[in-house]
Symmetry: C2
Subunit: 333 residues, 2 copies
């Protein structure tokens, strides 16, 4: 049984290219005790993967050179040597960018394909959904009537942040790239407004759409957009630092928010979040999110690219802002 | 009766110079009802004054061109048309950079010259002390055993922040400019260590002095020092943004903290404070601080420059880092 894999060959400078990957075909290993052989069906493509490719300390170890690229995955158990998992079970875990994985059962979670399409467990019911849920509700602390702005609004996390903020009674403005994405946010997801960062003056549009100022800003992008929003925050605003996708491929230093003294003027705070800290409460969150989906209050959206071999180019779609909703790679054509 | 005054003549670009001031001598006005004539004895010189000289919205209105420069002051009541104030009372208020002031009693607070030298009400028992007290205790939230780092450590706010952190059982490291200031912090104020930013590699010294990382960083300076500390923060660290004196005379954009994504990696937060928000609780804080002073746990330090006419040059001492402790201008020679 042959297993196609993408190994990290070299650490990228700027955007990752095909040269950063070793595309290899290996035999699938034999199972030891308490292991699973998994056929991977969907691979999650996330902005955080760019950080994992860098050397040096972050919130998680970097991927080692020569190792299978780390990625969240959903797939089906083909063989099990653990009594808690049966052949045919579907599981979520970090099985990497490959077709098959032999893994210990630790960190593998059974998912229910009857409840939702399995790829949804990489999106709204997975890490991006959890990131949005906990980041917004526990760090952003939105109150009904407040104004919430989210950047990367058409992405996996942003779409969920905005919808949860609407559920909580907030006015929601999304910042996204392109008229189509902006129309999608307003017409399909019920955002109160959207700003196209590719064609609009963000500061001016924020002033118009948020005349009272911004109470909560959920930042997925960093860079100039963070600086623009900082000029429009309200007293006691909360800025959730979830990511900074505009900066991940920088070959120069990260752009720090030059307007950070707005935090002082407005007695505001900026706080970083990492979803894993909430692992103990994922179950409760998934249950609540599934309820919102069932009631039609929360729409799930996946952007599926098909074909394992397309991984390098598909990953770049994130940084080029080409996805709407959760970007996933479907392994088989 | 003649009254020397410094009026704001023009808004400075970079460091304020004598050219930005109109030095004038005016007659003292007659009193209306509920007013005081005050002889100003000490004028507070504060980094925030630089911001008040700029045009545009901040946490307080800018000083208008042609107006007496705003400043905190202590002085004695010479005449009163308000039954709550008597001739001879000493008062704290914002009476501006002048020898005499005719003001309404609103915003004027009686102080007790028997309890402490009156200039102390501009320092440890005044705004800088309140800033340190509330900023550290309510936003920094230090716990015994944690490591607290403060920049501008030898200044009016920094000296108090460090001493309160010691009272709360923390390890305290100060960042200041020059060997004398550093020796003062350690030998006189009981800091556990001090870093001379003029001669040391801050990041390296922080690693040595704070091997477990920084739990609370109280930032008075911004710029490169903020960026260096960001690389050394611990999980769940709290950064109190009190000021950014390194940036106030910039003629280019403020330097944003390029390492702000350390907030994400470390699930840390950065929060701005303005002392006035705690006005309702000043009394309680002053009482506690006075108790610490009486017990010898909190040392007050004023840096007194004598002579009203020296105001322009004395103000610049703040930005050149020439003061140790609270900088005040004594009006009479």
């Amino acid at each position: 049984m042959k297993n196609k894999q993408f190994l990290l060959k070299s650490r990228p400078v700027g955007k990752p290219t095909r040269d950063n990957w070793d595309y290899v075909v290996n035999d699938v290993a034999e199972l030891s005790d308490n292991q699973l052989l998994i056929r991977i069906d969907y691979i999650s493509l996330d902005p955080a993967m760019r950080g994992w490719m860098n050397e040096g300390k972050s919130y998680i170890e970097p991927v080692q050179l020569g190792a299978v690229m780390r990625a969240g995955t959903v797939g089906q158990v083909l063989k099990s040597t653990d009594k808690n998992f049966a052949e045919g079970d579907y599981v979520y875990g970090h099985c990497g960018v490959q077709q098959y994985a032999v893994v210990s059962t630790q960190g593998m979670h059974k998912i229910d394909p009857a409840l939702a399409p399995i790829e949804r467990y990489l999106g709204v019911l997975g890490m991006p959904g959890m990131t949005a849920y906990f980041g917004l509700l526990e760090t952003g602390l939105p109150k009904a009537g407040e104004t919430v702005v989210v950047s990367g609004a058409a992405g996996a996390v942003g779409t969920v942040v905005g919808q949860i903020a609407k559920i909580k009674g907030c006015k929601v403005i999304g910042i996204a790239g392109g008229a189509d994405k902006c129309a999608y946010l307003v017409n399909e997801l019920g955002f109160d407004g959207a700003i196209d960062y590719k064609s609009e003056n963000i500061k001016k549009s924020l002033k118009e759409l948020c005349p009272k100022g911004v109470d909560v800003y959920f930042d997925n992008v960093g860079g100039d957009i963070l600086d623009d929003v900082l000029t429009q925050i309200r007293m006691k605003a909360r800025i959730v630092i979830c990511g900074a996708i505009s900066q991940y491929n920088n070959t120069t230093a990260v752009k720090g928010p030059a307007n950070y003294l707005s935090l002082l003027v407005n007695r505001a705070k900026m706080e970083g979040i990492v979803v894993f800290d909430n692992a103990a409460n994922y179950g409760k969150a998934v249950a609540e999110m599934a309820g919102w989906i069932a009631q039609g209050k929360l729409k799930a959206k996946e952007h599926i690219v098909t074909g394992f071999d397309n991984f390098p180019e598909a990953l770049l779609m994130l940084f080029d802002g080409e996805n709407t909703g959760k970007l996933v790679l479907k392994v088989e054509a």
